[in-house]
Structures are given as C-alpha cells and as structure tokens.
C-alpha cells in the first residue's frame, strides 16, 4: 500500500467512526438536514485537502470538528439565521462570574433538589425530555456547542478546546456556565410544575 492509500484508509475509517457525531454537530449548526449534509461534505473535502496539517493522528477528532466548525463559520454563517455569539464569553465573564454561578447553585433550596431527585422524576419522560432539549437549544451557541461536544459527543476538555480553538480553561468555565444555565431551566420547570416553595425561598432568577 502506498503512503497515500494508507493515509486515505486512515482518513476514511476515522470519518466513518465519527460520522454520527459529525453529522450531529453539523445539524446543530445548520438546523436542517440538507445543509447539515452539505456542510459535512464540504468539511470532509477540506479536511482531506488539509490532511498534512494533522500533526498527531490521535487528535483526528478535534481536528476534524474544528474544520467542520470553521467551514460553517466561513460558508454558512452569513446565510444562517443563527449568529455565533462568540463575544458572549467576554460579556458573561466577570471577575466574580465563577463564584456567582456556584453561589446561585448553592442557594437553591433542598426542596428543589429533592423534587428533581424523586425516583418517579423520569428524565426520559417525553415531555420533560423535550423541555430539557428545548433548554439546550435555547443556550447561547458557545455554551451549547461546548456542552454538547463534551456531554453528547464525549470529547475531553482538551479535545473540545482544540475543536473550538480556545484554551482548555475556557471549556472548563463554559461547562460551568452552560450547565448552570441548564439548571436554571430545570428550576423554571420545577416552578412551573407547582413547586411554589422554590419561589419563596429560592435565589432570584434574572
């Protein structure tokens, strides 16, 4: 086998292995099947053309995710109804941001936690599942992408950092922010469901 054949086999195998995750990311970015398919095709073609830039074969996945995302930003973003809110990190990153988030979670009353932890609180219940996915969809893009890359696609913080072109510490804080925003959605859900005690004793929701 020539070097090129060997490289091609490697490339093909790894794209195949990551196809669902790649498609998932493409779909989340473009929000429709036809564009997701086009984006994925474009990204794979570009990735092959740039295969020389893959320094470490063990980093194939974050490398390809990054190309996919860059492809979206350069080709699809303008047509997309959905802006990439890159600046949100700066806006939300205050000096005390991390502590404020932890404090907000800390202040949630045990009634809230116990309500969610009841055995019959079925996370796979359709209505509840839909609410959670709606909350994910409503997250600002940077947090949503980060949470999904890590918690759905199983990327490590290092890999997610590479895929998104940010330092690992940024992934760490985006995870906290993204997941705290999800907790706020769960909070709203509990309040809607009549957990009135939370309204009286809980932290202020902005």
């Amino acid at each position: 086998m020539s070097d090129r054949d060997d490289l091609k086999a490697f490339f093909s195998r790894h794209v195949e292995e990551n196809m669902d995750a790649l498609y998932g990311v493409a779909y989340r970015l473009t929000r429709n099947a036809a564009d997701a398919e086009d984006l994925l095709g474009e990204a794979v073609a570009r990735a092959w053309a740039a295969i020389g830039s893959l320094a470490d074969r063990d980093r194939f996945r974050p490398w390809l995710f990054r190309i996919l995302r860059n492809c979206f930003i350069s080709d699809y973003r303008r047509q997309s109804v959905r802006p990439i809110e890159q600046s949100l990190d700066d806006v939300m990153f205050t000096e005390n941001g991390e502590q404020d988030l932890a404090a907000w979670l800390c202040d949630q009353p045990d009634e809230f936690l116990n309500w969610w932890a009841e055995p019959e609180r079925e996370f796979y219940n359709d209505a509840l599942g839909d609410r959670i996915m709606a909350a994910i969809d409503a997250l600002p893009e940077v947090f949503q992408t980060t949470v999904l890359l890590v918690n759905v696609d199983g990327l490590s913080y290092d890999e997610a950092a590479e895929a998104l072109g940010v330092p690992p510490g940024t992934i760490r804080s985006r995870m906290k922010r993204g997941r705290t925003l999800l907790q706020k959605a769960l909070w709203a859900q509990a309040v809607d469901a009549g957990l009135a005690v939370c309204i009286r004793t809980g932290p202020d929701d902005e």
Binding site: D20, V44, A102, L113, G154, S156, R179
Partner: protein
Amino acid sequence: MNDDHVYDSDIGCMEAINSLYAYLDGELGDDVSIEQVETHLQHCRSCYTRAEIERALNEHLRRGAKRAAPAGARDRLRRLIDDL
C-alpha cells in the same frame, strides 16, 4: 444548603459545586482532587443530590441528543471520500 465545613479539610459546598462538572466529566484539574469532591459528596446530602441530578442529566444528554446520520448522508459521504 449551607457552606459550613462539616469536617476537617472539607472543601465546602461552594468549592464542591465549582468542581462538580469537571468531576463528573472526569476533568478535575490540580486544584481540587477527586477524593476531596467525593468526601464532600459523602458528607453533604444537598451536593450529593445535586450530583445525582447532574449525572441523570448527563445520561439524558448522552442518549437523547444523539442524532444518527441518515443513510443517504452516509452513502454520499462515503462516495465523496472514495472520489477524493
């Protein structure tokens, strides 16, 4: 929930929550150890319950948000790679 340190070397609720996502993701840094988080969770019912909720949410995300590539898209991509 309170932030009292209930035993010697307890990191407290704030620190536990601050480290919770990294802990659940297997990504704790050098500042707080797995043992410190787990010891706190064993002693604090509130944080333990929160960790269970977050774990359930992780599981939900893992299963619920996955989207399989449609057969047509897979075929098209395979052909594309063959032609590269």
